[in-house]
């Protein structure tokens, strides 16, 4: 679809205005939220934008890139070099731009080298890039500069938030317009059949390399501003492999098939992580693991796929034998949470939180379960569920 044609589309304006309203609301948050929530929101925005950046390239092409941590880490290190605690070498915004550019160049180089590889070979190579840069910097720091980690200039929380929000908006806009442009169409055709795309006139290598590099820009910029919150970094902190795997998980969690799936998935995923780490520090790994397994088993198309399925059920009645297993899972987790809370009642605050979370999850699951049941009855599709 042509961009001009598309922008005259009514749907575009509805979505655009809604998005603007959300962004305007986000921009006012630091005025009335406490610093912790501003930081939490900043971190959620960061994870969402890294996920969306990852999806820009890997979503349509199907190439599983694990280089995210490399691009992010390059941004972190750029900040450490240009914004040392002893005094900024360059203005903050310029450092962010430079970090994005450095990541872009790295993306170009890595893409030119690796994008002739496919499948598992590409994934392994991109992850190798993370380790290669990490180990090279370690060697460099140990043997050349003799530094033992670097202190980064402390930047005010609201400034970090607004910079992250700006990068977030830039990422969304880029992802959106790439997706709706001829360039995006070329990417999708590469994902469907690379040889066919090449035969139909798409310069496959050029499209892949440029998109790969564009996706790196935002990760690098995010890493640069993130470093100012960490205040201390070393190669292990900067090139944390977690940042290679998180975008993949988050995109799957939300659903890879749509534009907003990874956004919703990353936002919910990161908030869920924070909630579990703080409220269930001793159980969160188990709960989180079970939830992820439940998502993979019962929601193969992610959260967005689930919503689409529910909407389709409302419109056309449920699919044959589509037992609402996910609703049962919610119920079970809720009951489990409540019971655990009851058993450790003497831990006053922990128990309250467990009870609350258990109750909320049970209610959601129960209500959803009941809804599906009622829909079945109303639709006269008894054979669908029972």
């Amino acid at each position: 679809m042509d961009i001009t044609t598309f922008t005259s589309n009514k749907k575009f304006w509805i979505w655009g205005i809604s998005l603007l309203a959300v962004l305007a609301a986000l921009a006012t948050l630091p005025q009335w939220l406490g610093s912790y929530y501003v930081i939490l929101l900043k971190d959620i925005l960061m994870l969402v934008l890294i996920t969306v950046s990852w999806v820009i390239f890997s979503g349509p092409t199907g190439y599983m890139s694990l280089a995210s941590a490399a691009f992010f880490g390059v941004g972190v290190y750029t900040s450490a070099l240009l914004l040392p605690m002893t005094g900024a070498v360059l203005p903050l915004l310029l450092v962010i731009v430079i970090a994005g550019l450095v990541s872009f160049i790295l993306g170009l180089l890595a893409g030119a080298l690796t994008l002739r590889l496919k499948g598992i070979y590409f994934a392994v190579f991109t992850f190798g890039l993370v380790l290669l840069i990490q180990r090279f910097l370690l060697w460099f720091e140990m043997n050349i500069t003799h530094t033992r980690g670097r202190f980064v200039l402390l930047v005010e929380d609201n400034t970090i938030f607004y910079v992250m929000l700006a990068i977030f908006v830039a990422t969304l806009l880029t992802a959106y317009f790439i997706r709706r442009s001829k360039f995006g169409l070329a990417l999708q055709s590469i994902g469907l059949n690379e040889e066919a795309a090449a035969h139909s006139g798409v310069n496959v290598t050029r499209v892949k390399v440029i998109t790969f590099a564009i996706s790196a820009v935002f990760m690098g910029a995010a890493g640069a501003i993130y470093a100012t919150k960490l205040t201390y970094i070393d190669p292990y902190i900067a090139f944390n492999p977690l940042f290679s795997f998180l975008p993949v998980l988050m995109a799957i969690f939300g659903g890879l098939g749509s534009f907003y799936g990874p956004i919703i998935g990353a936002a919910l995923f990161s908030y869920l992580q924070e909630f579990l780490k703080t409220e269930f520090p001793f159980q969160y790994m188990i709960i989180f693991g079970l939830l992820l397994m439940a998502v993979i088993v019962f929601m193969p198309r992610g959260l967005v796929g689930l919503v689409q399925r529910l909407l389709a059920s409302l419109k056309e009645g449920p699919e044959e034998k589509s037992t609402p297993g996910w609703a049962i899972i919610f119920c079970l987790f809720g009951i489990l949470g409540g019971l655990v809370g009851w058993f450790i009642f003497r831990e006053r605050r922990g128990a309250r939180v467990l009870l609350k979370a258990g109750g909320v999850v049970t209610l959601i699951g129960g209500a959803a379960y009941l809804l599906m049941f009622l829909l079945t009855l109303l639709g006269g599709l008894g054979g669908g569920y029972f």
Binding site: Y36, D43, D234, K277, L355, K356, G358, F386
Partner: protein, 429 residues
């Protein structure tokens, strides 16, 4: 499944859910209304600690057991007397210890939560040197005392002038372990050493400081090689160290790597006249892991139950609560001295205001398990536990017991036993 059963199940689920939520109604956070409390019935400690991830061992056997033991002791004694409230208040920490998953980004965010949302009275320090570095500006920003436990490095010292709430208790490389080890080498006649160190902040720091100290003492470094944290084979490195003819081998790495090196040396029959083991060599589980092979191994630390007049009572208390093998012959006595110091500072201040308590800590000397205890302050900034208060710097396993073998120096006489030199051969089965 019949419809009736499903309806009943759904109703039960909804009722159970409603009940759980209803139970929460009386929930009211102690600091939830944002108003300063007129009265107070408990002191809340929070913390962002590594319950999972690579640093989880510190919560298991580092500062973790110590702060839990200290709080239970304080509460058993009726709490801390706070003059401002005219009463003794118990300490509460359950529900306020968050898992940082050994991730620094998570840790900094959780610290902000504890200080600005939960508004706890005190925040325990995070674990690991890197976490201390990243967390210190946040403690200073919100004016919370940071009694640092697991971590410390020379590179923080320049920053301390701008971190007034930082109080480090753990000894480390230049403060004052490696100067003591160099003196010990001179005493024992060690003049050639080999070093294996981990490729991270700890390794770089120790290898760098050791190189300086050895050079100052006229000791030659014949080999200095680094290993990555995930190293799985050190046999070639050990053969190289053996071939170098060094008198002593220093392992500046973490327990995973150090245990691998020790195990490989035992397996290959490679021995040195002296072997200094970094973190891991100090844990009380070591005899259970390597049995009589530990005899003569030196370690960084160090203290034992005879180090100070109060040490035996502390050992007895610790052993009465925790099973054998959970002790730490490097940090535990320092952490215990640290919390005893902190406790007295709070009572002396008579308030839970961290700014007042910080000033008391910066200017006072209190009696603790370490004896008279104070901090060396860096201008108007933070402080480090005075070297005179350390129980020791270098230990050695002798007859399956840790002994302090520091040579006497200007900071006092810490030795509890004469060093064994050369180290005995690995025992044969």
């Amino acid at each position: 499944m019949s419809k009736k059963i499903l309806i009943i199940f759904s109703v039960i689920v909804l009722l159970v859910g409603g009940l759980f939520v209803a139970c929460d109604e009386e929930d009211d956070d102690v600091n939830g209304n944002g108003e300063p409390p007129v009265t107070k019935d408990e002191i809340i400690f929070g913390g962002s600690r590594p319950i999972t991830g690579g640093n989880a061992i510190w919560e298991e056997v580092g500062f973790g057991p110590l702060y839990r033991l200290w709080i239970s002791e304080v509460n058993a004694a009726g709490g801390l007397y706070i003059a401002e409230y005219g009463t003794s208040l118990p300490i509460v920490y359950e529900g306020y210890i968050y898992d940082d998953t050994s991730d620094i980004g998570t840790m900094t965010r959780q610290l902000e939560r504890l200080m600005t949302v939960d508004e706890v009275d005190f925040v325990l320090s995070p674990a690991s040197t890197a976490s201390l570095f990243a967390g210190a500006p946040i403690f200073s920003k919100y004016e919370y005392v940071m009694l640092c436990a697991e971590g410390g490095a020379t590179s923080i010292e320049d920053q301390l002038y701008a971190l007034p709430y930082f109080f480090g208790v753990l000894n480390y490389s230049n403060r004052y372990q490696l100067p003591v080890f160099a003196d010990l080498c001179l005493e024992l006649g060690i003049d050639e050493v080999a070093m294996i160190w981990i490729q991270d902040l700890h390794g770089i720091e120790y290898a760098g400081v050791a190189a300086t100290e050895f050079a100052n003492a006229g000791i030659e470094v014949l080999m200095s090689k680094s290993v990555p944290p995930d190293v799985s084979d050190v046999s070639l490195l050990l053969l190289e160290a053996q071939a170098s003819g060094a008198d002593a081998l220093c392992m500046f790495a973490y327990p995973d790597q150090n245990f691998l090196i020790i195990g490989t040396m035992i397996g290959m029959g490679i021995n040195f006249d002296a072997i200094l083991v970094g973190p891991g060599g100090n844990i009380s589980a070591l005899p259970g892991i390597f049995g009589p092979n530990i005899e003569g191994l030196m370690f960084e630390g160090a203290w034992n139950c005879n180090s100070t007049p109060g040490a035996q009572a502390f050992c007895d208390l610790f052993d009465s609560v925790y099973p054998p093998g959970t002790g730490d012959w490097w940090g535990h006595i320092l952490y215990w001295g640290g919390v005893q110091f902190f406790e007295q500072a709070i009572v002396e201040a008579g308030t839970l205001d961290n700014t007042v308590i910080r000033d008391v800590m910066a200017t006072s000397t209190f009696d603790t398990v370490l004896g008279p205890t104070w901090f060396d302050m860096f201008g108007d900034g933070g402080g480090l536990l005075a070297i005179e208060c350390h129980a020791g710097e270098i230990g050695q396993w002798q007859n399956m017991v840790p002994e302090v073998i520091d040579p006497p120096n200007q900071y006092g006489e810490k030795r509890t036993a004469d060093p064994w030199y050369p180290k005995p051969d690995w025992p044969t089965e």
